[in-house]
Symmetry: C2
């Protein structure tokens, strides 16, 4: 084994508002031993995702909270080091929810073998994993796009947004992305082929949308919420489809953000707004992975990663991501 | 002809906030003469509906505003008095958008002959007209109900809400209605067969919902918006369907109502919120009318009307309806 200890990042306290590094405990443990039926995994890549912020709270959600003192939850790509399961053998590369730790035990449930021939391993928690599948099913299934549709994507250079926008282009849509820096806007337009981008931090989003979408907005894929979403809602077309994937602008507020009520827009536009979780599409994951892998091979689908090396740096990278400091899919390289 | 003059209610000024009677002009005109292809109609029943408030504004919507000095728009049941059209003959009873006036000309476009054998004539602008069809398609199509679903309907004794709740019962759902008086709550439960009702004016809606829907809410048919809707949203189940039919609590505000942002609920509940207009279902109106007429004949579908006599009283009745003073579908009996 490449290290002698199991480095683990535990939830130390429930944050009020933005998490700080003090809300996490980085501890060194011994490497656990697999029991009959279990596998011992060494984490290679840990995915950092906005949903994890919700797990730090003690509030009702679609998944349980992390208990204080437990390792933070998270999806990883890992290597099987030792197997007492008939399903896995040492050397297998797998993907699953192994938490923020360098070694983990698993009973094999919800563990997926990674096809190493498709793309680099870390894509199994990126474009060919949860974030990519979220983009794929959220856009194609929830937003029901038609060629020629005007599509707006928020957090457009992020793990999900970058994939949504590129799939929208593949589908023949016009795509406008919102992002939080000039570099991100330039990237989605010049590298990913979006039709336009809006830096929501230094422009009036509504005025920019008026200019860029004179024909209105047919599809909105929302990762952020807040005033970006308000501005889009004011400009949706009849029959618009709005996927509520995330609301990252709201995750770290100490008191609720107040906004003008605007549900009447849905009525007069005969529009649909739908929240979704990728897990609902589990039976179709293979379809999504196969199709996106072929788009990657054809050069139609690119992905940008923001890699941090070393699990000790995960808390800082996670907090930075919540602040929009990441540029692309946030990943922690845990070991070689 | 039964009267010598054409009484008309014109829009005099655009209201700020709640309309007052001063925003309307009641004028006496001569009865117009039909040209070739036209019919002269005498209004029998005028429907008063919340959507008309939006037409008094000069704002973008799905239908044009009423111009100052023009008759208020509205659906009526009318009798053909004189016909220079091959399609209609004197004595025909028709339904269409003939405005707030005792006589009107029409070229026959969007005029529907009323089947007098189905139910009393005024149902052609009530349960067997726009409000009933709104309930029928909005509930069955947008809300996609399943037997056993817990359904909440706001403005439950109103023209649309009363029909939604009864159709929900026919479909085997559990139905809770919200309304603004004890009499209305008693009516929907004791006369219409709702499982329960909540008087939103004198109870905490959230606490009442906790008590009445311990298993959560699967379907919400919203006519009102505001805090009733907030309370429902906090209690929706996974896969909930929410139809945004109207937002009457918001129509007369001088400045926007502010509310906590809550779109994250849609994501974690994988819920759908959809706005709709009944006009989208025009090709299926016959289905809705036939089916609801048979439910009426079987005694499964009742309807309550709030009738005002005389067109001069329409402005006051309309303002009262916006205030929730009506009890049932608001109708003006224009002439015998």
């Amino acid at each position: 084994m490449s290290t002698e200890i199991n480095l683990r990042v535990l939830l130390k306290s429930r944050p009020k508002g933005f998490p700080t590094e003090d809300d996490f405990d980085v501890v060194e443990s011994t490497i656990p031993q697999p029991q009959q039926g279990e596998i011992l995994l060494q984490s290679l890549w840990l995915s950092l995702d906005p949903y994890m912020r919700g797990r730090m709270n003690d509030a009702k959600s679609y998944a349980p909270s992390v208990n204080i003192g437990d390792p933070m939850v998270g999806g990883s790509v890992a290597k099987v080091i030792e197997s007492r399961s008939p399903v896995f053998k040492p050397g297998d590369i797998v993907e699953g929810r192994f938490g923020w730790q360098s070694y983990a035990l698993s009973n094999g449930l919800d563990v997926r073998k990674v096809d190493e021939s498709l793309a680099p391993l870390q894509t199994a928690v990126g474009v060919l994993g949860m974030p990519g599948l979220t983009a794929y099913f959220g856009f194609l299934d929830v937003c029901d796009p038609t060629p020629g549709d005007t599509v707006v994507v928020s957090a457009a250079s992020g793990a999900v947004g970058q994939i949504v926008g590129q799939i929208a282009k593949i589908m023949g849509c016009k795509v406008i992305g919102t992002a939080g820096s000039e570099a991100k806007v330039s990237f989605i337009v010049n590298e990913l082929g979006f039709d336009a981008g809006i830096n929501y931090k230094n422009t009036n989003v509504g005025e920019s949308l008026d200019e860029l979408c004179p024909e209105g907005i047919d599809v909105y894929f929302d990762n952020v919420g807040g005033i970006v979403t308000d501005s889009v809602m004011d400009r949706i077309n009849t029959g618009a489809r709005i996927a509520i994937c995330g609301q990252i602008s709201q995750y770290n507020l100490e008191s609720p953000d107040m906004a003008p009520r605007n549900l009447g827009i849905l009525t007069r536009s005969q529009a649909k707004m739908q929240g979704f979780l990728v897990f609902a599409y589990e039976s179709r994951y293979d379809e999504g992975i196969t199709r996106m892998a072929s788009w990657i091979k054809e050069g139609k689908l690119k992905y940008k990663e923001d890699v941090v090396v070393g699990l000790r740096n995960a808390p800082r990278a996670f907090i930075g991501m919540l602040n929009g400091e990441n540029f692309g899919k946030t990943l922690v390289k845990v070991s070689e």
